[in-house]
């Protein structure tokens, strides 16, 4: 009888933020179109390591499983990506799975990315409306303008762009590419643009756009192909203009 095909997976385990980290290896039955999520579910159903030690299911975040919610970002074979779209047959084995390192660790592969949502708040990343009452249609917009803005509005707040950014580290407050790109998005919208100044003030503050050192790693790992470096350059220009005008007429 032919030997059953298996998948070898190594997961970096850490029971809590204070606990020591360590690797565990698992051998799982291979099936067609397997992804990293299925591997993690297999482990939960049979929490036994390759060397037959009983273990606990791996803690991880996942939700939509079609790369649109942003939840399941982790490092797979050294690269930050969404676990749902990481197909086993395209990965070199043993598949190494680690948590993102630029966010506080909760347990195993679960990290706390709340800082990204807090920064969206700081940047006033919204279109301020007068209320949800019936005030008629929104502003006209050309198809061209929509096609420029739409890709920016597909950001899933996964945090991969922060993970690869050398400027995001323990010593900096840099908000990262995703957040700056949202500033650009809202400054593009006809109503949002009326409040561009506030957003630019925020993005010129500590940890803002000036902290970008142009490593350009962000755009390489974005699962949604968002033109992040263009966004940073554009917001930089807007901020510079506001600073110069402020200096001349302030």
């Amino acid at each position: 009888m032919a030997e059953k095909k298996t998948v070898i997976v190594r997961v970096k385990r850490q029971a809590s933020p204070e606990a020591a980290a360590g690797w565990e290896e698992y051998e799982l039955p291979w099936r067609p179109s397997m992804n990293v999520i299925i591997c993690l579910r297999d482990i939960a159903e049979h929490p036994v390591t390759r060397d037959s030690k009983q273990t606990t299911p791996v803690s991880y975040d996942a939700n939509c499983l079609e790369e649109v919610c942003g939840a399941c970002a982790m490092i797979v074979n050294g690269r930050p990506r969404q676990a749902c779209s990481a197909l086993v047959d395209t990965l070199q084995q043993p598949i190494r799975i680690e948590p993102l390192t630029k966010f506080p660790l909760v347990r195993d592969l679960t990290v706390d990315r709340d800082s990204m949502f807090r920064n969206l708040k700081r940047m006033k990343a919204w279109v301020p409306i007068d209320g949800t009452y019936d005030l008629g249609e929104g502003p006209r917009m050309s198809a061209d303008q929509q096609e420029k803005a739409y890709p920016l509005s597909r950001c899933i707040t996964c945090g991969n762009c922060l993970e690869v950014c050398p400027q995001v580290n323990q010593h900096s407050q840099f908000v990262g590419a995703a957040i700056i790109s949202q500033v650009r998005l809202f400054n593009m919208h006809p109503t949002g643009a009326m409040h561009a100044r506030e957003r630019l003030d925020a993005v010129m503050g500590a940890g803002g756009v000036a902290d970008c050192a142009n490593a350009r790693n962000c755009v390489e790992v974005c699962p949604k192909d968002i033109p992040l470096t263009e966004s940073i350059a554009d917001v930089n220009r807007q901020a510079l203009k506001q600073a110069v005008l402020g200096w001349l007429f302030g």
Binding site: I129, E137, Q146
Partner: protein, 594 residues
């Protein structure tokens, strides 16, 4: 002085809109969500949102939207609430547009509309093929603004366990668990709006997200909240089969001209595009000449089942049909459908611009849900409201595509103000409720956890879940026989018995996902029984509920809302009359103009 406070459970479209409406009325809101709200399942909605704006000179109107919705739902929906939703829809689009949703535009700079299933009008506004994501983000941003102003407090990473009911059976808050610290806590409020979405996980694999377990609905059902029309489950005709989930291929693919076909010759192994057109069977177009590929989902799903299981014409002899976009210019596909093409490319590894996609039906949506009244989105338990997919109100026996987003948002618009009015009218608000009421519910929930963690046994929760999903998918989806339904219920009872012997294999008290999953699993098993027994009882065929032994709709006996009631651990059914005051029931056919 009495201060009103509202809790919203769930941060998808319904929950966010309810939150916005309550905050706008100046009442503080506490918003609970398992995931950061921006990751809610609404993000997966693809094709668009319906509103009869009549921008293409077709003579569309909100009355036609009402008629399509009621007819599409096979006359099971109460019509007055549907009318209010359809009338409100154009204003909802305006509102979303003002919030900055990046809807596709026409050359003049107006919103563009496309066709969807079950209608002959261009009624669906869309943002590429990621409309749900775009609308969810717009509402998320508005809520974030209220949060920055201190009007909304978010509890993200908390899971709902139960309502806190006082001795008179009135809801006084909720009990929830922090998924990081595993702390169980009671939260006082005057009313709770439940917006916890669908229950796809009951079927194991579905198009739903991981959090769509129906656990909250089931927990409330077990506390006395009624559950309506549970047996009406929508199976979407076009999904990509996968072991972890069935990934949706939006109806908008057909709305933009996509065609469904199989080779006429069984087992024809030629590459699809080399098969000459006369040798292809465009079965939806042949069987339903008027609506063609845009028949409602229940009709398309049954047609695909017939092709695969009766005619044995599945592609390569497998359970699959082609969904073909290759005749549509790439530029159009990229502008209007990129989001879903990307999903097919990433998960299947084939470019659907050049090759027909292989798809098969997958569990997608629950028309049934928490019972609410027709006017205020209020459940039968005072202080509990519901909005969105978790309630039963708008879609009858089958939901039309692109009606879900509008019903979620409208549901939130109704439930928010209704809960505030109720809260302000209370003689005694949450501040006057004795602390013992909150302690009692917390203690009850903690006891369940302690028992689960201590339990010794050999059953694995994921194994039980998989067995439930396989049985439910086989017996309680597209084609239903009473014998099989009873067999499925027997299986559920067996699983409930085995549940008493599950072993968590993780007894820690920090980010223990096995514990929270085990809690959900119990609730899924109970709700699965509601669905299965409701289906067994209803001896007719209506919308998505199809029994070959009872192939006709039977208005005389079954033009009724199913209402499931939990009584001392048993499930009992009552039946209510349906409001058909606006559109008299008539036969539902899609092979001709209705």
């Amino acid at each position: 002085m009495k201060t009103a406070k509202i809790i919203v459970v769930g941060g998808g479209l319904a929950g966010l809109m309810a939150t916005i409406r309550v905050a706008e009325l100046g009442v503080p809101v506490e918003l609970f969500s398992i995931v950061p709200v921006k990751r809610s399942h609404s993000v997966c909605a693809q094709g668009g949102i319906n509103a009869a704006k009549n921008t293409k000179g077709e003579g569309d109107s909100t009355a036609r939207h009402l008629d399509d919705t009621v007819y599409g739902g096979d006359f099971l929906a109460n019509q007055a609430p549907v009318k209010r939703m359809c009338d409100a829809a154009p204003g909802i689009i305006d509102l979303l547009d003002r919030m900055g949703v990046m809807f596709n535009r026409t050359p003049e700079g107006n919103l563009d509309y496309r066709r969807f299933g079950g209608t002959l009008y261009h009624r669906t506004a869309f943002a590429g093929a990621t409309t749900g994501q775009q609308i969810l983000y717009a509402l998320d941003e508005q809520v974030r603004r209220f949060e920055a102003e201190g009007r909304v407090t978010k509890y993200e990473g908390w899971t709902f366990l139960s309502a806190v009911l006082d001795d008179a059976g009135v809801c006084r808050g909720i009990c929830a668990m922090d998924l990081k610290t595993m702390e169980v806590r009671s939260f006082p409020a005057d009313a709770a709006i439940i917006c916890t979405g669908g229950n796809g996980a009951i079927f194991g694999r579905s198009t739903n997200s991981v959090v769509c377990t129906g656990s909250a609905q089931s927990a409330l059902f077990q506390q006395g909240v009624h559950y309506a029309n549970g047996e009406f489950i929508q199976v979407h005709p076009t999904a990509i089969p996968g072991e972890d989930k069935l990934r949706l291929m939006s109806e908008s693919a057909r709305g933009e001209g996509g065609r469904v076909w199989v080779p006429r010759k069984p087992g024809d192994s030629r590459a699809p595009l080399t098969i000459p057109v006369p040798e292809r069977f465009y079965f939806l177009e042949e069987w339903y000449p008027k609506y063609g590929n845009l028949v409602p989902r229940d009709v398309a799903t049954r047609a695909i089942h017939k092709i695969v299981f009766e005619e044995r014409l599945g592609v390569d002899g497998e359970a699959a049909v082609y969904l073909d976009l290759t005749h549509i210019p790439r530029e159009v596909l990229n502008r209007k459908l990129e989001g879903i093409l990307e999903i097919y490319e990433k998960f299947v590894g084939i470019d659907p611009r050049d090759h027909p996609m292989k798809v098969f039906p997958g569990m997608h949506y629950t028309m049934g849900g928490i019972w609410i009244d027709n006017d205020h989105a209020a459940t039968n338990v005072p202080g509990i409201y519901a909005a969105g997919e978790c309630e039963y109100q708008y879609h009858g026996a089958n939901r039309l595509g692109a009606n879900s987003l509008v019903s979620c948002i409208w549901g939130g618009m109704v439930a928010g103000p209704a809960s505030v009015k109720y809260a302000k009218g209370l003689d005694n608000g949450w501040e006057s409720v004795p602390a013992g009421i909150y302690d009692r519910e917390r203690t009850r929930q903690e006891a369940i956890h302690d028992a689960l963690v201590r339990q010794e046994g050999s059953e694995n929760p994921i194994t039980i879940w998989k067995e439930m999903g396989a049985s439910m998918t086989e017996h309680v989806t597209v084609v239903r026989y009473n014998k099989n339904l009873h067999q499925a219920d027997a299986k559920l009872q067996e699983l409930l018995e085995r549940y008493t012997r599950i072993n968590l294999s993780d007894r820690t008290k920090w980010s223990n996902q096995t514990l929270s999953f085990a809690r959900e699993l119990y609730n899924m098993l109970v709700l699965a029984r509601v669905i299965t027994l409701g289906a067994a009882a209803r001896d007719e065929s209506r919308g998505a509920h199809y029994k070959p032994d009872f192939p006709e709709r039977d208005d005389k006996h079954w033009l009724k809302t199913t209402r499931a009631i939990w009584e001392q651990g048993a499930i009992r059914f009552e039946y209510d009359a349906v409001d058909t005051s606006l559109v008299p029931p008539r036969a539902r056919r899609y092979d001709m103009t209705k």
